[in-house]
Symmetry: C2
Subunit: 402 residues, 2 copies
């Protein structure tokens, strides 16, 4: 199948592009290099030494014999380029990763909030409008987040996108299925909830076929394909903005830095390995909704962990110490979380368990590239509001005084 990957140079987009290409799909990439520009802005690069997109694609051609053309324009701005590409390439599916994906980055300042909103909401809407305008029957698979549900599930599994509720009507209480009420925890998460409304509208109004993959926190960096050559290596972020919690712990352990737990670490989160991410996208493309069907939502995660339990697991494997920092986020300090993920399991996903994959990650990436780490980039300096900023400032002052 012909598949267009938007954001195909990024952390999830790159291994997805290779995976689908390796499986025989005809893949093309759109990427404006925004993630690499943000590296420059933050002065914090990938722990792994990633090659340029050009070098990556040349290496892939050399190794696999397959060509992946890449197009450099901004989805959400260059609508004419996007529409022309759809008409020319005529993809059967689009996989949409072309959004700013870090919650802390989205909360750094007014500028970062504004960038995240306009970039993400306009990118998603442009893709939808371009599909309609092209007249082609393209399946759109979008990378969403478990975070749209808010955290905490009151002892009940978070369903896949829709919630059954009872509402009072003139004839008594009736059962309805509604989009799970959104409760975004950051500007980044907010944009994903805004996307969900756009999906709902375009599925109803134009019959677009849309899958929204509500992904957990991704851990790991390498997949079967990115391991095939050093020039194909995937990025691994460990900084306070883009480093996801488990990857930060792995790198901290590798360099002998105490594992930084925010608050008491009672937050429970959903996780998935990067290899499972690329497999899930493949499964989702093979199981597209029918025209006229509502948006298909799948929870793309494999297990839930409490942050302090993760930290303890990593500490146990590596001997690292734990340290608790003030939580920069506005969120509940403790929450339970259970998640339905029956759809992707039903399609054939065989999850890589954290307990099985962690040691490989530590050896393969974190220890191997530990010498490249800039320890000053580890702390999260992005605070969710003025109160949290004051608390973080006070903690720093106390530490300095001690």
């Amino acid at each position: 199948m012909r598949v267009l990957i938007l954001g195909g140079d990024g952390f999830c987009g790159w291994p997805t592009s290779l995976h689908l290409s390796a499986r025989g799909h005809e893949v093309a990439i759109v990427d404006n290099g925004s993630r690499r520009h943000i590296d420059d802005e933050l002065g914090a690069g990938s722990l792994t030494p990633i090659a340029t997109l050009e070098t990556r694609l040349a290496a892939w051609r050399e190794i696999s014999g397959r060509d992946i053309p890449a197009h450099d324009f901004t989805v959400g701005q260059d609508f004419d380029a996007l529409l022309a590409l759809l008409k020319d390439f005529r993809p059967a599916a689009i996989v949409h990763f072309a959004e700013q994906r870090a919650a802390p980055y989205s909360m750094k300042s007014a500028r970062h909030k504004r960038y995240t909103v306009s970039n993400n909401v306009c990118a998603t809407h442009d893709v939808l409008a371009a599909i309609v305008e092209s007249g082609l029957d393209i399946h759109l698979a979008h990378l969403g987040t478990m975070g749209v549900y808010g955290y905490g599930s009151a002892g009940v599994s978070v369903p896949e996108g829709y919630l059954t509720v009872r509402v009072e009507t003139a004839e008594g209480w009736a059962t309805r299925e509604i989009l799970y009420p959104a409760s975004p925890g950051s500007i980044y998460h907010l944009t994903k909830t805004q996307d969900a409304l756009a999906f709902q509208f375009y599925a109803r109004n134009d019959g677009l076929r849309i899958t929204d993959l509500h992904q957990g926190i991704v851990w790991g960096a390498q997949t079967l394909e990115t391991r095939a050559d050093p020039r194909l290596i995937n990025r691994f972020d460990y900084d306070g903005d883009y480093g996801t919690v488990l990857n930060r712990f792995l790198m901290q352990a590798a360099v002998g830095y105490p594992l930084t737990v925010h608050g008491a670490g009672g937050q429970t989160r959903a996780f998935i390995n990067i290899q499972d991410t690329v497999r899930c996208v493949e499964l989702a493309l093979a199981d597209a909704p029918q025209r006229g069907e509502r948006v298909k939502v799948m929870n793309q995660m494999t297990e839930c962990w409490r942050v302090r339990d993760l930290a303890q697991m990593v500490a146990g494997l590596t001997g690292a110490e734990l340290t608790h920092l003030p939580n920069p986020r506005v969120e509940a300090e403790e929450n339970d979380l259970m998640v339905d993920n029956g759809r992707l399991l039903g399609l054939g996903l065989r999850p890589i368990r954290l307990e099985d994959g962690l040691l490989l990650e530590i050896a393969e990436v974190a220890r191997r590239y530990a010498h490249r780490a800039d320890l000053s980039k580890i702390p999260s300096i992005s605070c969710w509001n003025a109160e949290r900023a004051a608390a973080a400032g006070a903690a720093q002052t106390t530490q300095a005084a001690e």
Copy 2:
């Protein structure tokens, strides 16, 4: 109180600015003239001869002795200008009308869809981010729409923003109050539902005080203040994009054009007179939520009518004929609608009833300015999707052949 009106030169913004100024508030306006530029784009101006904003403000100064400073920049783009204005003017409240407000316009083409999304979502988010950045405790009152609820209420009144539902938990069925599940009927309505999520986030994360006024379809054009001088006259739109249904009927009756009912006219809608709109905004500003309170939603409407009943009422008053056209919208052909509007009534709103005000509108605006009408602008040529466009095209061909 110092009040900043965003979009203060528009159909609702202008009379609101005058009303609040007349009531002794210190008013300032931001407007980039976008609504007037769209007049030029569509080649369809206001039925009433509206003066430039400069002339309007000079006239108001002359008549009332009050000054309303106006600032020309784009909310949603010129963030620095907005933030500087907040810090300088230090408003106690912002009234936010700075959004593209016509559903048919939002559906005209990919370009119009894209403009509506980026303009509306970015404008609203910039206002929120600027309030946080200013550090000021500013109450934001936003003009939303009844349309976010979707139409049809299953024999139960549409509540004011929140819906009580029962959900299944580990301990059995529990009661929850959720944001009323959004069901937008156009790109314009979609943006208002996306705004609602941003309001929810900023109220929770930053303690912003926000009121969302879910307004019905506005009818009438003049208020006490806009009647005070011909240079203060408000705009009256009758074209297929911006003309709201009742105002279109009034004008059609005045010029002897058959009243254009889309489909069977079984759509039930909520309505409010423009004089009540400005009064509602005043009441909302006087009843701002507390810091930490959730978003206050009020249904800003006074009565519900079925479109064909409205048409018949206007026909009865004027002798006009009715004609049925294919419905360009994707929507139910028939729906019931009942709406809770207890909050604004409780605050003192005394509604102007349609049956009392219609004749005045016909005499004061529609008949008086009928000679300015361009009849070619009356039909709505904006179709919601390819299927509706085909239906509209077929109907035109049939008419031409007859």
